[in-house]
């Protein structure tokens, strides 16, 4: 800082010769001329002083029967003169500084953290509805009021914080956790069949079995009842518990696209550059608005600014158009979908797939499987 100030004031390197050096030093000190970096040499004395003190130092040198010779000048009037000559550059620098300070009053970039169920887009849309969008004037904003509005607008949020630094808004959210379902272990319940099939194994821990091994059951049929009847007392309701494993034969059909055209990429690409100033887009190249058919469009946006410090209301947009062509009739191969269909069935089944059989047709794939799985499903019943 001190060095910068010296440069701004202008620093002279001078040589005093021909007189009494000690007298010159004392006279300068008495007159308030600040001398620095004083070095003694055969031919006199070298020193640094501020440009504005040159005249006084020259007079003192004359009084001391010597002369003061300027060797070099750093900063000061010379630099200021250069700036004057480059008035346009100075004006541009001032305008840039002004634009930077003005742009920091507006929000141009959002950072959302802490969201899991809610997407960034949903949060930003809700913020925009509350008046905090891209390009909004932040000094007029009230973070507390916006937070209250956001919590009312998005019930999934438990807490939210909005911090604005420069032109970057940092949104930190904490999502609400759903209250766990209260589960009563003693609530009366039956075990019913989740799927139809032939019972392979049945074990009852509590309740009365209504089905037996080898019996065919349909979906929704009661397998173990929670009602225990007694000859001496009215029926007692309990929670049925047990395990029922059955052989099932599920079917899954995959419908395939009957015909399609095959896409192949052509050589070459075209790039369109643009600038997004605030909410407006400016294309940098001519013919940028020309429609391009049969092209894949890959668009990338680059924010201009210093990450984490400030953001300019400028985004560089690069659009790459890659041409492609379609040819022939493409018919999908049904066998390519077999592993995926089997994997999907395995995920749905609460057991194991014993065997499977595929039927390939025109535009469809049929999967028939033999599974052994747990089919018991607890269904709570009301007390009479």
């Amino acid at each position: 800082m001190r060095k910068t100030l010296r440069l701004f004031r202008g620093e002279l390197r001078v040589r005093f010769r021909g007189g009494d050096t000690a007298r010159f030093l004392n006279a300068c000190a008495e007159a308030g001329v600040e001398l620095r970096e004083i070095e003694s040499a055969q031919e006199g004395l070298y020193a640094c002083l501020f440009e504005e003190e040159r005249t006084r130092a020259e007079k003192i040198a004359l009084l001391c029967s010597g002369e003061l010779e300027t060797l070099a000048l750093r900063g000061g009037s010379r630099e200021r003169g250069m700036l004057r000559r480059r008035a346009r550059l100075a004006v541009f620098a001032c305008l840039c500084a002004l634009a930077l300070s003005l742009s920091s009053l507006f929000i141009w970039d959002f950072e959302v953290t802490g969201n899991d169920r809610l997407s960034r887009t949903e949060i930003l849309r809700a913020l925009a509805d509350c008046g905090v969008g891209e390009g909004c004037f932040w000094p007029a904003g009230d973070a507390e009021a916006i937070r209250s509005k956001m919590l009312l607008r998005l019930p999934e949020l438990a807490w939210m914080s909005l911090n604005v630094r420069g032109s970057r808004a940092s949104v930190v959210v904490l999502e609400r956790r759903d209250a766990p379902e209260i589960y009563r272990e003693d609530a009366p319940a039956d075990l019913i069949a989740a799927r139809g099939g032939v019972i392979a194994e049945l074990s009852v821990e509590n309740g009365r079995a209504l089905a037996s091994r080898g019996q065919t059951v349909t979906e929704g049929e009661t397998l173990v009842s929670g009602t225990l009847e007694s000859l001496a007392a009215p029926p007692r309701r309990v929670r049925a518990r047990g395990s029922v494993t059955a052989d099932t034969w599920p079917e899954r059909t995959v419908v395939l696209c009957p015909a399609a055209r095959e896409k192949s990429r052509k050589k070459g690409f075209r790039m369109i550059l643009g600038l997004r100033v605030g909410k407006h887009r400016v294309n940098l190249l001519p013919n940028s608005r020309k429609e391009l058919d049969e092209c894949d469009r890959i668009m990338k946006e680059y924010q201009i600014g210093v990450k984490g410090l400030f953001t300019f209301p400028l985004r560089l947009i690069a659009e790459v158009y890659r041409p492609f062509e379609t040819q022939g009739d493409y018919r999908p191969d049904p066998s390519a979908f077999e592993p995926r269909a089997l994997a999907a069935l395995g995920e749905e089944t609460d057991g194991e797939v014993l065997s499977c059989e595929f039927t390939r047709g025109d535009g469809f794939l049929l999967l028939r499987a033999h599974c052994r799985e747990e089919i018991a499903l607890t269904k709570e019943t009301e007390n009479p």
Binding site: A22, C28, A29, L35, E37, I38, A41
Partner: protein, 89 residues
């Protein structure tokens, strides 16, 4: 002049203040740098010798490559290879 000095010394003694507070030479040396306060002007200056006037007598610094970093009224900061500091009272 003597009366003035006498008054200064008596005042410093009465007020329990160091004599430097009333214009005596104060020298601080650290490493290659020396700070001299309350001097009364430079008497001699060369690359290997510097002598300043003090309230009583003079103070000299001997060494090599001596240069004055800053010089103001009453304050002088110098640096260089200091070999000796001499008082001449």
């Amino acid at each position: 002049m003597k009366t003035k000095r006498f008054v200064r010394e008596r005042l410093a003694e009465k007020l329990s203040l160091p004599p430097e507070a009333f214009g005596a030479l104060l020298v601080t040396a650290a490493g290659h740098g020396v700070l001299i306060e309350n001097h009364r002007g430079v008497e001699e200056f060369s690359e290997d010798y510097l002598r300043v006037r003090a309230q009583r007598g003079s103070f000299a610094v001997r060494g090599s490559g001596i240069r004055i970093r800053a010089l103001c009224r009453g304050v002088l900061a110098l640096e260089g290879e200091i070999v000796a500091m001499e008082w001449d009272v």
